[in-house]
């Protein structure tokens, strides 16, 4: 269950809209928390869905927020792009309270977002989703030739690595020389 609203800040989030739950309504009222990414769009997420994230689950346990306090203080994840956070929230909602299947068909399909998604999922400590994402990354090179693997995983050639290393050494040498000169100037 997610809801989003554009342009709200973490300090004063606006009332998010709520989409209908896909799962059956729980018997006891469920508590909700709020998260936002780099774009400040606030997502309302149930505690059940957030349990997938060890990081957020830990934060909730430590803070002991009431629903009102949670609403007023969305968890800010400034290092995660808004669309990536949306994917993560969607996945958490789809898998709320369910055992995760061995083959997940609800994985985000946009491969161009995979890199950011993996980093976000790793940061949020969502173990199952991380496993799926890593599997997807590994599957990208199944049956490919070394040249194709190099392209898919953006692996520099040995020559490129050597050139980069030389460049780094050169830069480090220059910086060291600059520091020595500055130190000598200070001494004078």
């Amino acid at each position: 269950m997610s809801s989003t609203e554009q342009g709200t800040s973490s300090a004063a989030p606006a009332e998010p809209t709520t989409a209908p739950e896909s799962a059956a309504a729980p018997e006891v009222p469920e508590s909700f928390y709020y998260v936002h990414g780099k774009d400040k769009v606030v997502h309302k997420v149930s505690a059940g869905a957030l349990q997938h994230s060890a990081l957020i689950h830990g934060m909730i346990s430590n803070l002991g927020y009431t629903e009102e306090q949670a609403k007023a203080n969305p968890f800010p994840f400034e290092n995660i792009d808004g669309d990536i956070l949306q994917m993560v929230v969607d996945w958490c909602n789809q898998h709320k309270g369910k055992p995760t299947p061995p083959e997940d068909t609800n994985l985000p399909k946009q491969k161009e977002k995979l890199f950011d998604l993996v980093l976000a999922v790793n940061y949020l400590e969502i173990k199952e989703l991380l496993t799926y994402c890593c599997k997807q990354v590994a599957m990208m090179v199944k049956g490919k030739s070394p040249e194709e693997i190099r392209e898919i995983w953006m692996i520099p050639t040995d020559a490129e690595d050597e050139a980069a290393e030389k460049e780094a050494k050169k830069r480090a040498g220059k910086e060291a020389a600059g520091e020595t000169a500055a130190a000598a100037g200070d001494a004078k």
Binding site: K111, E112, L114, F115, V118, L119, N122, L130, T131, C134, K135, V137, A138, M140, V141, K142, G143, K144, S145, P146, E147, I149, R150, E151, I152, W153, M154, I155, P156, T157, D158, D161
Partner: protein, 336 residues
């Protein structure tokens, strides 16, 4: 859509690399030395093992599967993979271009690329003993463990004679098999024994060597051992001064006869009385109609000595944890 995998933090990179099989890591090694080294450092390959048979097929045993690297000279087949049923299990194959140094160079490359520490199996097949001895020297230098070593099907017996002294320096831990018919004057003495030995033309293995043997299973064919020697050996076993780890001893020798006793019994030594007993152990060995023998410390064993076309002695030592000793019902006679 490309993804900059090697910009991932190490723990994340490890998660992805742990999902890669030896074929993918091999191909990765062909992309970049730096990335390959990082992959070897992060990927959990410590339990991977390699199999070497001297020819154009090398096997990596990883995560319960066998990955075969096979030589091809057709560039269009490089890195082509296939799966085939072999010996009742699926094996994966990838065709590759072998390096100029041949299988030895590929062996070294795979050891280093995957950081492998153990050789699962080594075998000189189809007369490729030269390559095997080269690999054996390397493994001795690196003090690497070799779980199983087989020496069979050699074109030139002298090559096998020459390689045998190397065994003393090789760290063979689990199994040694040899079916070479050495010259009559051949001599060899084991310095260390693996858990099991199986020697099909074993005339050169004398009683003194056997007495010092630390194997759990010994299987000898075409032995020269006599009743008297076996009698001495088994008396030593009884008082715990020989064959300390023995579980199964099987010796076929034409010198076993009915002229003198073995453990105070004249062959054939077979339990002809009811109830008949069968013994079955974890090694899938079976003995029927054996005679119970006991070590001085009370350890139970079962022995059977047959004469006839292939005179043979069989001794099983019972471990209650993995040995089943049961009576055969009388009406089961025909089944046996």
């Amino acid at each position: 859509m490309p993804i900059a995998l090697f910009k991932f933090p190490n723990d994340l990179l490890r998660e992805v690399l742990n999902l890669c099989d030896p074929f993918e890591l091999y191909k990765l090694s062909k992309c970049s030395k730096k990335c390959s080294q990082k992959a070897t450092m992060l990927r959990d390959t410590k339990m991977w093992k390699i199999g070497y048979y001297g020819g154009n097929d090398m096997t990596i045993c990883a995560d319960g599967s066998n990955y075969h690297f096979k030589k091809t000279q057709k560039p269009r087949d490089y890195f082509k993979t296939e799966r085939a049923l072999r010996f009742g299990r699926y094996n994966d194959y990838m065709y590759i271009e072998f390096p100029k140094g041949g299988s030895f160079e590929l062996f070294v490359y795979l050891l280093e690329t995957f950081g492998i520490r153990t050789v699962k199996s080594m075998e000189a097949l189809f007369g490729k003993l030269h390559n095997v001895s080269k690999v054996a020297k390397l493994l001795m230098d690196r003090k690497m463990e070799i779980e199983e070593f087989r020496i069979n099907k050699i074109d030139n017996v002298q090559d096998a004679v020459n390689i045998m002294p190397m065994l003393s320096q090789m760290n063979i831990t689990q199994f040694f098999e040899c079916s070479i018919k050495f010259p009559p004057d051949f001599q060899f003495e084991f310095v260390n024994y693996p858990s099991q030995i199986s020697i099909s033309k074993s005339f050169w293995l004398n009683i003194n060597q056997l007495s010092n043997c630390t194997c759990t299973r010994v299987h000898l064919q075409q032995s020269m051992l006599t009743n008297k020697e076996l009698n001495v050996l088994l008396h030593e076993w009884k008082n715990a001064s020989a064959l300390p780890n023995l579980r199964v001893l099987e010796i076929e020798s034409n010198n076993i006869d009915n002229q003198s006793p073995i453990l105070d019994m004249i062959p054939p030594i077979i339990n002809a009385n009811n109830p008949r007993v069968s013994i079955f152990n974890k090694f899938y060995d079976t003995m029927i109609d054996g005679v119970q023998v006991k070590k001085n410390d009370g350890t139970e064993g079962w022995m059977r000595v047959d004469l006839g076309y292939r005179p043979a002695l069989k001794l099983f030592i019972v471990d209650p944890a993995d040995t089943v000793v049961e009576e055969i019902p009388e009406d089961d006679d025909d089944d046996w």
